[in-house]
């Protein structure tokens, strides 16, 4: 198991650091930050499956996230279910909801899907706000029990950091596995040319619904984890601005780059925290990231080739280079 490239070494070093960090450090703030990064990694990777790999422009990811969070909170609080069962069930509930959304969304062009999922996100948030009896209304749900995993009971930020990293790693392994095989090629074929994909026998309907289901499943798990970590949730955490924040993370890491989503989530979670003075500019950073990345590095922060190409073109002077040239 010797890494074959500089990138491989960096990854191995990163993983090793993540592994020994709990023994090196005793700083609840850092662990909290990393635990939240882990949650956003799961959200970003699962959204990337839709936007980046399948070309389904979904703007309502926070709806699935919120559904998972509320489902898990209510299942443990009102139905007395143990955390592991509620965790799994909230993922499955979100997946069912996601597939139900994915099915009618099949025929829609990208902008209509974007508008519809945006509307859906708002509807979910409004229901969470207005169904006072069930969801606690705008005040939210306090007192959600901390996760009890029979053998271990998570309580300290350090525990949650380890659990969040395991959740992110598990999500990565499952999604990477799905994407490296036949389903992954099918999804990318659908993204690049749906008609062509259909003509070579890709079951576009099944794959799109499945992509929505799997994506929502992981968002639901992230929601459940978030609810039991913070022990308090309110509708404000699951609005459109949350969906947009996740989109900024996916874009920063690169659309269609699964590993990039890990970086995108980590960077956008930690940059405003590391530079404390930037705290007030959190939203501004998210917005600027979206604009700059899409304009300058459309394949994400790891791929600098578009910028290099632009540099070469600029150096070779005006009127030369570029694809539209030729004799």
């Amino acid at each position: 198991m010797i890494p074959a490239s500089p990138g491989g070494w960096a990854r191995a070093a990163g993983l090793a650091l993540a592994g020994v960090l709990p023994f090196l450090l005793d700083n609840n703030y850092v662990f909290h930050l990393l635990a939240m990064s882990g949650i956003y990694m799961v959200l970003a990777m699962s959204l990337n499956l839709l936007i980046g790999f399948t070309g389904l422009f979904s703007l309502g990811h926070a709806a699935f996230y919120g559904l998972g969070a509320y489902a898990s909170a209510l299942l443990t609080q009102d139905c007395g279910l143990p955390f592991p069962a509620a965790f799994a069930l909230s993922g499955l509930l979100a997946a069912a909801f996601g597939a139900a959304v994915g099915f009618p969304a099949l025929r829609l062009r990208a902008i209509f899907l974007a508008i519809a999922t945006m509307g859906l996100n708002e509807i979910v948030r409004l229901f969470l706000t207005n169904l006072d009896g069930l969801t606690g209304g705008p005040a939210g749900l306090p007192g959600i029990p901390e996760p009890d995993l029979w053998l271990v009971r998570l309580g300290q930020p350090r525990d949650f950091y380890v659990a969040a990293m395991l959740l992110a790693a598990g999500t990565y392994l499952v999604l990477a596995n799905i994407l490296s095989g036949r389903p992954g090629r099918a999804l990318i074929a659908i993204r690049d040319d749906e008609t062509a994909a259909r003509s070579i026998g890709v079951d576009v309907t099944a794959y799109k619904v499945a992509a929505f289901g799997v994506s929502a499943f992981f968002a639901g798990l992230a929601g459940s984890f978030f609810a039991h970590y913070l022990t308090y949730i309110s509708p404000d955490s699951f609005g459109l601005s949350e969906s947009f924040a996740i989109i900024a993370m996916v874009s920063l890491g690169g659309l269609g780059n699964l590993r990039g989503s890990l970086w995108g989530a980590f960077l956008l979670c930690s940059i405003p925290e590391i530079f404390r003075s930037l705290q007030d500019f959190r939203e501004l950073i998210y917005g600027l990231t979206l604009v700059l990345i899409i304009r300058v590095l459309p394949d994400g922060i790891a791929d600098w080739r578009p910028l290099a190409a632009r540099w070469r073109q600029w150096r070779s002077g005006p009127g030369l280079g570029g694809e539209g040239g030729g004799p």
Binding site: I51, I115, A116, E122, A248, D280, G287, L290
Partner: protein, 292 residues
């Protein structure tokens, strides 16, 4: 009661229409969408508010409208040049993502510059109040409705009767063919953005006057409603956007009057989703088959 609700719905519909026609203009020409339209509306409102503060109440109203329209139009032009022009031939997702970034940036900037608290209208815009047939009209409301109607009618005339309108319709019908016919499509697109944004800006200052409130997130909900209205009328169809906006305004005020104010937004967004699922071309649109 019913008449009053209908009147309120008409005013609301007029405000929605000023934004909805902008969505329809842009989507009609480019088949691409902007998500920063609500923030252009908000920026226009704040530009108008700034102008209101500079002048004495008599002149201020006359100064606020061009300030709102101008401020918003500049932002619209920037949006077109930065987010749309370089990516016109790429996937429709690209400009949408950039405009999402714009909307976040503009909200954050407004929050930093103006603060989170709601600003009131700087003076009391009282132009009298009349009662007719159980409906209370205020001069302000009549002014807002009249101005919105005049702008929309003017837009309809310009599109139907002027050379620019012809160029716009040609560009919307077939971008490349219009280009081959010698139409400066770049200029048409830019002017459509300027016009759409200017109307959004005027909508912003009228909204601020109507509700007596200016705040950084004022464009979020109304732009989604306007998008719902444009979709209801058939997005890309400017006349349809007006019909959809008035219809949505009426439905909403009836829901508020007879059902529950809590669910007015739910109804609006449910209509949006239902229209997209059942009849994506809208109530006035014709179905289009996608060509390979």
């Amino acid at each position: 009661m019913l008449a009053q609700q209908l009147f309120n719905g008409l005013i609301l519909g007029g405000l929605y229409a000023l934004l909805a026609v902008g969505f329809s203009l842009i989507v009609g020409i480019l088949k691409m969408i902007t998500f920063a339209h609500g923030e252009v509306f908000m920026a226009g409102a704040f530009a108008g508010l700034a102008a209101l503060g500079l002048f004495s109440p008599g002149v201020a109203l006359a100064a606020a409208l061009p300030a709102a329209a101008g401020g918003a139009a500049i932002l619209g032009a920037v949006t077109e040049l930065v987010a749309f022009r370089p990516f016109r031939r790429g996937p429709e997702m690209t400009p949408a993502l950039i405009t999402i970034g714009f909307s976040i940036i503009l909200q954050a900037l407004a929050l930093m510059l103006a603060g989170a608290d709601t600003k009131p209208f700087p003076f009391n815009p009282d132009f009298g109040r009349w009662t007719a047939g159980g409906v209370v009209f205020s001069g302000l409301e009549l002014g807002i409705a009249g101005l919105a109607l005049a702008i929309l009618a003017g837009l309809g005339l310009v599109i139907a009767r002027t050379d620019w309108g012809l160029a716009l319709r040609a560009t919307a019908a077939h971008f490349q063919a219009a280009q081959l016919m010698g139409i400066n499509t770049d200029r048409v697109v830019l002017s459509a953005f300027v016009l759409a944004s200017g109307m959004a800006g005027i909508g912003g200052i009228l909204f601020g006057a109507h509700y007596g409130a200016f705040y950084p997130l004022m464009g979020v909900v109304i732009s989604m409603k306007a998008l719902a209205a444009a979709t209801l009328g058939g997005i890309g169809n400017v006349g349809g956007a007006v019909v959809g906006a008035l219809l949505l305004g009426l439905i909403e005020s009836l829901v508020v009057g007879y059902v529950s104010a809590n669910y007015r937004d739910v109804i609006a967004f449910s209509i949006l989703i239902l229209v997209i699922l059942i009849r994506p071309a809208g109530i006035l649109g014709r179905r289009e088959e996608e060509k390979v």
